[in-house]
């Protein structure tokens, strides 16, 4: 595994603009289509692309710098200190009972408890392992099946339940570290991180979305396509809809705990044509009623 900073030939402190510049320069030189027949260039191009994939994404770069993922983007468990292992229930060769062995020889209740715990420790459950898994906003609503690449090259199939929220922790029973004796393995704990979608905002089980509509759709009404996390649906906009008008798409929100779904709220936003339109200008300047209407007459100036 090569260091992505070295692959791109930039310093670990480089600004993202410099990383982009370095990537473009290398990519131009190495692109397979510009080097037909040069196998080495192709390999190098893949490497450069992978490195840029990681460093070009501010979030991934941050995680790589913090050592949470390796150069291939695979999850790396958070750094564990020795004490995390030493105090775990896992049997290990470094255990020493010389700090309390003399108590155990005694004939009282405490000694009996100590002796019992010595025996119990031989059959300890394995440790829980912690991972992080980023998913799309849409996946958090619909649910998904994801595969997590583990540091040892193995994989873990994770079923994302529909309606999951950011920071929720999924427990996969028996997918943690192996246990001792008849103790059985620990669990894998996966913290799911929902990447925000710029279009949608979630509040509880409801989702809201601001949807631009054209002037003619606002005035005349019509059927328009609306994106939802589960795919686009058709919605009827009534005649004379205004900016700020709220429409409700029933059952298009996140799944509810007790069954059913929340709603999706669509807030309309009237958008004028991009370039000034002479016909529209001509119409509005001759439109006496429109001029007479003052939306600020009730004091909202």
């Amino acid at each position: 595994m090569t260091n992505p900073y070295e692959v791109l030939g930039v310093a670990p402190t480089a600004a993202s603009a410099d990383i982009q510049k370095a990537y473009r320069k290398l990519a131009k030189k190495l692109h397979p289509d510009l080097n037909p027949g040069d196998k080495a260039a192709e390999e190098k191009f893949k490497e450069v692309t992978a490195a840029y994939d990681l460093l070009g994404d501010a979030e991934k770069r941050k995680r790589f710098d913090a050592g949470e993922i390796d150069a291939t983007g695979a999850e790396r468990p958070q750094q564990r200190f020795y004490r995390d292992y030493a105090t775990s229930d896992h049997a290990h060769p470094y255990t020493s009972d010389s700090g309390y062995a003399d108590f155990m020889d005694a004939d009282d209740a405490l000694a009996e408890l100590l002796r019992r715990s010595e025996r119990a420790r031989a059959n300890r459950r394995g440790q829980d392992l912690h991972y992080r898994l980023p998913i799309d906003f849409a996946e958090s609503i619909t649910g998904a099946n994801k595969r997590l690449t583990l540091p040892d090259g193995g994989t873990l199939d994770v079923t994302i339940p529909p309606g999951l929220v950011d920071g929720q922790i999924l427990r996969l029973r028996g997918k943690g570290a192996p246990g001792a004796g008849t103790g059985g393995p620990g669990d894998a704990l996966i913290e799911v991180e929902v990447e925000p979608d710029p279009r949608f905002t979630r509040e509880g089980d409801d989702i809201s979305l601001e949807l631009p509509i054209s002037l003619s759709e606002a005035v005349l009404g019509g059927r328009i396509r609306v994106p939802t996390p589960t795919g686009a649906v058709t919605m009827t906009v009534p005649k004379g809809s205004n900016t700020g008008t709220m429409m409700r798409l029933k059952g298009k929100g996140a799944p509810r705990d007790g069954g059913g779904h929340g709603d999706q709220f669509v807030k309309l936003k009237v958008v004028l044509p991009k370039s000034p339109d002479p016909e529209l200008e001509a119409f509005v300047s001759n439109w006496e009623k429109g001029k007479a209407f003052d939306p600020r007459e009730d004091g909202a100036s």
């Binding site: 564990r80 200190f81 020795y82 004490r83 995390d84 292992y85 030493a86 105090t87 229930d89 896992h90 290990h92 060769p93 470094y94 255990t95 020493s96 009972d97 010389s98 700090g99 309390y100 405490l110 408890l113 100590l114 019992r116 715990s117 010595e118 119990a120 420790r121 540091p151 040892d152 570290a177």
Partner: protein, 88 residues
């Protein structure tokens, strides 16, 4: 998760000679199998601790020996105490 010697050396950031020395001192006790020596994540963490003690804190070899011995006792006690706590 276990690994072979080569993997262990790169993950713990150790030289072969250093490892030999530490094994001789019994600072590290990797698992011995028919296929050879097997290192665990715990061995890596312990090796990093020893490296921190020696390189960053300037503890000498005799000092590392004492610290490890006391630490092993402390952790043994902590475990026994923890177990007692759960039993009562």
């Amino acid at each position: 998760m276990t690994m072979d010697k080569q993997d262990f050396l790169s993950r713990a950031g150790l030289q072969v000679q250093t490892l030999e020395l530490w094994l001789e001192q019994r600072w590290l006790i990797p698992e011995q199998t028919s296929a050879g020596t097997n290192f665990s994540d715990m061995d890596v963490a312990r090796a990093r601790l020893i490296r921190d003690l020696k390189d960053d804190f300037g503890v000498n070899d005799a000092g590392v020996d004492v610290i490890l011995h006391l630490l092993d006792q402390l952790h043994g006690l902590r475990r026994a105490f923890d177990q007692l706590h759960r039993d009562i």
